[in-house]
Symmetry: C2
């Protein structure tokens, strides 16, 4: 209730946003194959002409959805896991928690990501938005793995780059295959056993500082 005055008609930015969210919902529900500008306008409670007032073409609207998706993936994460004192382990558990979080709380996000990823194969504008998302994610994983190796928590012979490629591929595939929670957990258990240094099985909160 701070600055914005209540208005009968939404301001331009709000309407624009509501159209993007409506398109997002339509995309999650029916995919690109079933995405119709009319459905989006209806869902937003607006005439088609109004949609085209904010987005000159369907393509522009889709671009807006891609931007929205990217912002959501940056914003939305599982609640931070309780720190154990070991950064690499914390990061690992945070990654697991995030995966569960998206799968359980925001399945739409994963669905739309799949749609946009597929679309990105033929649409450079979409690719330009979606690809960096993965690049950034994978690079973060790579640094995390390298840190874990440096800290002595992860196995010495682990290749951070290859490990990151494997991890990102596996998480992408899991989202794609829409694995159940038990299946996800089984994967995480294997990943954990794979990452951890065989000698130093960390039982409880072993403090390790870099």
């Amino acid at each position: 209730m701070a600055a914005r005055k209540k208005q009968a008609r939404p301001r331009g930015d709000e309407r624009r946003d509501s159209l993007v969210r409506a398109a997002f919902a339509c995309l999650a529900a029916d995919g690109f194959e079933g995405l119709r500008t009319r459905s989006v306008a209806d869902r937003a409670g607006v005439n088609i002409a109004t949609l085209h007032y904010y987005f000159p073409t369907k393509e522009a609207l889709i671009g807006g959805v891609a931007d929205f998706l990217a912002s959501q993936f940056i914003t939305l994460h599982a609640p931070p896991v309780a720190p154990t004192g070991c950064a690499a382990l914390d990061r690992m558990h945070q990654e697991f928690a995030d995966a569960h979080f998206y799968s359980a709380e925001h399945p739409d996000l994963a669905a739309v990501l799949c749609e946009l990823q597929l679309r990105g194969r033929r649409d450079p504008a979409i690719r330009k938005i979606i690809e960096p998302l993965f690049g950034h994610w994978q690079y973060g994983i790579e640094r995390w793995l390298a840190d874990g190796v440096a800290e002595g928590v992860f196995r010495r012979d682990l290749d951070p780059a290859g490990g990151a490629a494997l991890f990102v591929s596996a998480m992408t595939g899991a989202g794609w295959l829409r694995l159940s929670r038990p299946q996800l957990d089984a994967i995480f258990a294997v990943v954990e056993a794979w990452l951890l240094a065989p000698a130093a099985m960390p039982a409880t909160g072993r403090k390790i500082k870099a």
Copy 2:
């Protein structure tokens, strides 16, 4: 040249098949979003009405493509790898070779699989064809991993079910992300290091019988 006589007009089955292949090609090129019965008919060099003579609906045609895809995945594999005497290792290398094979020689197959997988989320008929493909694949991986553990080639603490889920997810994600060959190789190196028993690094052809 054994039985079939040359004919000016293709027999029913042949035309049907050529329509499915045309639809497959269209799907690989433009995805479901751009799949048009007219394009398929054109590509097959046939009138739309003829298409509908063989496939009453677009949906039926898509079903035909799904069946075709499944048959292709059963039929097409990389040339068998040279046996090392260890079945589990051979199987592993065959899996790696297959992944490279599909990526390099049959990218269309992977593309159409992605399209159909996505479609399967909303189309039960497609799901019924595509899902067993993954189920069968994953179960085969699971048995392979279990065998490798039993043979003492793979690490004792490996969970075959979780490992199979991870492997299938990773391969699916890799196909989805269309990783380059070096990236695939990096993943395979990590998987190999992850699978192999730490103690018994199998140098050459150690014969192990179950």
